[in-house]
């Protein structure tokens, strides 16, 4: 906990230093002769929001159940990838110099993914059986601080760009919902659904997430604001499952659930609205080339 606090403090100081650094390179153009030099640089600040689609990539599989018949693959989870959208919202601080930009985009984001387990028990004749399906919905809420380097291809109002960068995420909340359904052929063949169980699952994941990202998008200058549309693919570089805590959540482990070692992959679709912070005087009112 202390380490995470120190991390946050350092990040805060970094942002301040970053902004201070950006402010110090501002120059106020005072004459038309300096117009081009002035318009080569700009600091944009704005907001952005969108959605993310995530994939949980298991690198090693685990289960509370252990097969005594050698059929351990029966307990492997079946993941549903890029199927559950999660919200993203944050701010965007972009410093632009010519076609290159550095963009800091602190944001809140929720990654969601689902996995299922199917279990079957039969007697030797196959006459009696019970089939159960456990559907586990997972969500992870991060405060993420990505830094991107962006390159814009064209000049004008519409500018396509590509970008790549590094991300750091701090997990502040996680949860699971377990839905159990089944078919009971031994008691008369009725299907049933049990009431879902929701649990706090923060202890099952580590707090930090590091990764890298790449994407493409389009910026559109309308009047004095800039709209940005982009798609970014993210990969985290390490296992986010808390390996020491895999079996410590009594309610989840007791119901037969144990997290695999997973890495996250995701696509983020977002729209941003950015405002320039450097202006010429009213006579040469313009913010960007």
């Amino acid at each position: 906990m202390r380490r995470q606090c120190v991390c946050f403090l350092l990040l805060l100081l970094t942002c301040i230093a970053h902004n201070s650094f950006a402010q110090r390179v501002q120059k106020r153009a005072t004459s038309p002769s300096g117009l081009n030099d002035f318009l080569d640089k700009q600091l944009f600040i704005g907001i952005r929001g969108g959605m993310t689609l995530a994939k949980a990539l298991p690198t090693e599989r685990y289960s509370v159940f252990s097969s005594t018949t050698g059929n351990s693959s029966r307990y492997d989870k079946n993941y549903h990838n890029f199927s559950s959208p999660g919200p993203v919202a944050g701010i965007d601080i972009t410093y632009k110099y010519l076609g290159l930009s550095v963009s800091l985009q602190p944001n809140y984001r929720r990654y969601r993914f689902i996995y299922e387990n199917d279990y079957v028990w039969r007697d030797s004749t196959g006459e009696w059986s019970l089939e159960l399906n456990y559907r586990q919905g997972n969500h992870l809420d991060y405060i993420e601080i990505p830094v991107f380097v962006r390159y814009e291809f064209l000049q004008g109002a519409l500018k396509p760009f590509i970008q790549a960068g590094l991300t750091y995420g701090y997990l502040f909340s996680a949860g699971k919902s377990v839905y159990i359904s089944g078919q009971d052929a031994a008691s008369g063949g009725q299907s049933f659904d049990a009431a879902p169980v929701s649990e706090n699952a923060r202890e099952l994941f580590i707090k930090s997430q590091l990764g890298y990202a790449a994407g493409a998008g389009l910026s559109w200058d309308i009047g004095n604001i800039r709209l940005v549309f982009d798609v970014v693919y993210r990969r985290n570089t390490h296992i986010i499952t808390n390996r020491e805590q895999r079996f410590t959540h009594n309610r989840l482990a007791g119901s037969g659930d144990a997290m695999d070692d997973i890495k996250l992959r995701s696509f983020t679709f977002s729209i941003g609205c950015l405002f320039p912070t450097r202006f010429l005087n009213a006579q040469y009112y313009k913010t960007s080339k």
């Binding site: 230093a17 252990s66 005594t68 079957v120 028990w121 930090s208 020491e244 009594n250 989840l252 007791g254």
Partner: protein, 400 residues
């Protein structure tokens, strides 16, 4: 400007350093706490552990009963797991080997337990290897094996059995080859209560499972919990005398001591009185005839009626604690840690959720934690063996 730049880059490096340390630690971590349920996909099989012990490779041997819809007596199976509880092997004993009784006794020569010959009703001594394979050592002319223990002081095995011909409880001291060293017999008594019928129902599974056990304090004082003069009683006696030094009488099979361990002249035990459970974490042995109802204990109403209790002593942070494990009314395994000296409840902990869980055995592990073997009912219906392992850190968190 250069100072700002320098601060900026230093901070980024520091953050990266902090994050990578935590991530590296996680990548190398192995869980010290585990939960496992051993399943075989069968609709008709059911399993119930009898005892577990840790092997020298840090894995576990679990002695268990196995039943299907056609079983009369429970059959015997031995599970071997690795140190993380991952299943290694299951060895099923022949169908005529039934009714395994605890404990699974760890000796320098291997692991021993007793079970019963389904045809002759006599006791069989079985030797188990580290890998979970087994050999029958011998069949003994002792009918109805009820409980067993290891006498650390003399290096001998103890067996509590029931002699139906003589209507006696029999304590036999045996060497690991199964040869009898000594024997003590105690009459079960006759009266308006049919103690023998109660024992037979215990064996056949048609009545309540009774808390038979035996043991020693390692200093020549032996004890057993069994029928003695009409009632399920705890009997303490010195080797060779054959006369009880202390008897804690119960009443029929409705009020009795149901778990005990001994050290020096002290005992920690639990008692059941008409369905209610009491813990007595430290009782000093005073010779004589006593009634169990006169011994004060802590009432624990959350424990399920007639639930089996396991008690042991475990060191946590260099302090010995008396640990009770039992099953709660809401289907969880309850662990209760008492200080042996001032009988204070130092902490409790509950295991299991969604499906019902019950405890059968508890043992200390070589890394300072504990392992618990129990029974759970998957989907509320398939009886399976479960294994919990709590680490030393978990125990430190539980105790306050």
């Amino acid at each position: 400007m250069h100072i700002f730049k320098l601060i900026h880059y230093c901070l980024i490096l520091l953050i990266a350093g902090f994050c990578s340390c935590g991530i590296k630690k996680n990548n190398e971590a192995e869980p010290q706490t585990t939960v496992k349920i051993y399943d075989n996909e069968s609709y008709t099989d059911s399993y119930e552990p009898v005892d577990l012990t840790q092997t020298t490779d840090k894995g576990f041997l679990i002695l268990a009963e196995r039943r299907d819809y056609q079983s009369d007596f429970p059959r015997v199976t031995i599970l071997k797991t690795d140190e993380y509880g991952i299943f290694n092997s299951e060895n099923k004993l022949p169908d005529d080997f039934v009714n395994p009784v605890g404990k699974l006794i760890k000796t320098p020569a291997g692991y021993y337990f007793f079970c019963m010959n389904r045809l002759t009703l006599q006791s069989k001594l079985i030797l188990v290897t580290e890998e979970g394979t087994f050999t029958e050592v011998t069949e003994l002319p002792l009918t109805y094996p009820l409980a067993a223990a290891w006498d650390q002081g003399s290096g001998q095995l103890m067996l509590l059995s029931y002699d139906r011909e003589e209507k006696e409880m029999v304590i036999s001291i045996l060497n690991p080859a199964g040869q009898s060293r000594s024997q003590q017999r105690f009459e079960i008594g006759f009266g308006d209560f049919d103690a023998e019928a109660s024992i037979i129902k215990h064996f056949a599974g048609t009545g309540p499972r009774l808390p038979f056990f035996c043991g020693t304090n390692g200093e020549g004082l032996y004890f057993f919990n069994g029928y003695y003069r009409y009632a399920l009683s705890l009997v303490l006696y010195k080797a060779g005398t054959g006369i009880p030094q202390t008897v804690i009488y119960g009443y029929r099979d409705e009020r009795s001591i149901n778990s005990a361990i001994a050290w020096d002249n002290n005992f920690a035990f639990s008692k059941s009185e008409y369905g209610s459970m009491y813990f007595i974490p430290n009782w000093e042995n005073s010779a004589g005839l006593l009634s169990g109802s006169d011994i004060k204990g802590y009432p624990i109403p959350e424990i399920k009626e007639n639930s089996p209790v396991t008690v042991t002593k475990i060191p946590v942070n260099n302090t010995e604690y008396v640990v009770y494990g039992t099953s709660t009314r809401n289907g969880q395994i309850g662990l209760y840690f008492y200080t042996g000296s001032d009988k204070r409840l130092a902490g409790n902990h509950y295991l299991g959720f969604t499906n019902p869980y019950e405890i059968n055995a508890l043992t200390a592990t070589s890394d300072g934690g504990i392992a618990i073997a129990g029974q759970t009912w998957i989907a509320g219906r398939f009886s399976r063996i479960c294994l919990f392992k709590l680490s030393k850190d978990d125990l430190s968190d539980i105790i306050h």
